[in-house]
Amino acid sequence: MITEEVMPLNYTEPIEFGKAKRKQRRKILLKGLLFLAPSIILFSIFVFYPMIRTIYLSFFLTNQAGATTVYVGLQNYMDIFTSPIFLKSLKSTFLFVLYTLPGTIILSLFLAVIANEKLKGIDFFRMIFSSSMGVSVAAASVFWMFLFHPSIGFINRGLAALGIAKIGWLTDPHWALLSVSISTIWMNIGFTFLILLGGLQSIDSHLYESAAIDGAGYFYKLRRITLPMLSPTLFFVMTVSVINAFQTFGQIDMLTKGGPSNETNLIVYGIYREAFVNYQYGSASAEAIILFIIILIMTLVQFKVGERKVHYQ
């Protein structure tokens, strides 16, 4: 570049300048890719490739080792949608969402609202309310397995004290899904509470002050200020809860193993059994694709509705 200085300025300058700029741009592109490379490589291997591979597998039959043997087109999909076990697992999963979502949101919201006041010792209560977030699914399942125990569990003992007959919480087909849902609500409360509390604390306190000057009561403020201002957070935790419900596995494996009579055979547990117990990778992949589509829709709804319907400060 130094040798080029002898050339007439009006001729070289724009070109040199453009070149340098292009070079600079290429350098930044390279830097950017370098910074992003670890994540992109990991995502490619463990997220995108498996997704494509799952779609591929869902069109095949496989052998014990999981290698593809026969191309069957959409047959796996037709099979799972006529399989009573898969249909039941879809139904159970939707019921499970229905049982867990309102409970989780309402209880966590209640806890977040009462823990949002500035009181002495409030930090202690916040700690307790968020505690289930620190308890793993395996440990929480053990706690609840005991509570649900037919003869020595505290729930049935409590009922016995009231003169109500024993219930086989985890073994009776009428109760099993509900029992798993109750334990799941408990497991979810910690995280949901923490997010909602964070949302409440970011609400501008001036809103409450001016409402108080106007003589607004507690519940009026709750309905007219707290809930609308909290709506983005509420919407977020709802979507996360639904997605989590569709991904539930641990408590099923620990508490019921999908039983009794497949009542609690939620979709991920079904996929797990189909793939790693029955070694039917093809149909398990088809089930996984259905799960993927459901979660995709949920996420898109969150992005779309989340942008539109929600109050931003």
Partner: protein, 272 residues
């Protein structure tokens, strides 16, 4: 908000009642882990005499120390990996403007729509093909990159004034040096939040360790607890509860220490 005394009393009552109900499952388990098997069968809530027998028995039956060590190691690996890789990615999304950046950003968003559970079959095959079943890398690798962490840190990095970058550019600092010496120290608080969160989630993983381990050498404490529970005999609830306490207490402590940070950080990350 100032509260009238009567409201305060009602509030404390509600808080206490909720706390008791919510904490009961943990409390029952805690007491049970210290009671003899007779007490458990009789339905006692508090032990008639406190004993460490259950803990001794749990550690005798299973290599719990080994499991604990494995869990700590894997959780640390995942935590450190996520912190490094997501902060690097977040830096690129904030400070490096290049063509195609938006597309790559969308790629990160897309990973959040693909649940790990739906792609578990090929992931299992990949780890198997790489001969990484029953190894620490096999347990940790699929979780080292995180879109959630990247978004969380991106939010924080965005608040760093661009003038700081310009000044460091004039001082002749490259991007990597700026990232290391300016951006990371400023974002320390968010990094701690993400660290706590990723450690907690890694410690609590269940499905992947179940699939990718077949022996006690690398097994995590969660799967250990599953083993302990499946051997449970009617009169041994205390032992299972002791195991559950060993699993739960480390993360409970971590949560109690980090609760304030988590609450702030997660709310910010959630709302973008």
């Amino acid at each position: 908000m100032r509260l009238a005394l009567s409201n305060k009393i009602i509030l404390y009552l509600l808080l206490t009642l909720s706390a008791v109900i919510l904490f009961l499952p943990i409390l029952f388990a805690f007491f049970m882990s210290f009671m003899g098997s007779q007490d458990a069968l009789l339905g006692k809530i508090l032990p008639s005499h406190w004993t460490l027998e259950n803990y001794e028995e749990a550690f005798r039956r299973l290599p719990l120390l080994r499991f604990l060590f494995n869990s700590v190691l894997i959780s640390l690996m995942i935590m450190i990996g996520q912190l490094i890789f997501s902060s690097l990615a977040a830096y690129a999304f904030v400070f490096l403007k290049f063509k195609g950046r938006e597309t790559l950003f969308f790629l990160f968003v897309a990973t959040m729509m693909i649940p790990f559970e739906a792609s578990i079959i090929p992931n299992f095959q990949t780890i198997k093909a790489l001969n990484l079943i029953d190894t620490y890398p096999g347990l940790a690798l699929p979780f080292l990159a995180t879109a959630f962490g990247t978004f969380l840190l991106r939010q924080t990095f965005k608040q760093i004034p661009i003038e700081l970058r310009e000044a460091s550019e004039i001082a002749g600092k490259g991007h990597f040096k700026f990232y290391l010496t300016v951006v990371l120290p400023i974002a320390k608080s968010s990094l701690v939040t993400l660290g706590i969160y990723s450690f907690l989630s890694a410690w609590n993983m269940y499905l992947w360790p179940l699939l990718s381990t077949t022996n006690d050498q690398v097994r995590t404490v969660q799967i250990g607890l599953k083993e302990l529970q499946s051997q449970e005999q009617v009169n041994q609830w205390g032992v299972v509860m002791a195991g559950a306490m060993v699993v739960a207490i480390p993360t409970l402590i971590l949560l109690f220490i980090g609760q304030k940070k988590l609450q702030k950080g997660l709310a910010e990350g959630a709302l973008k």
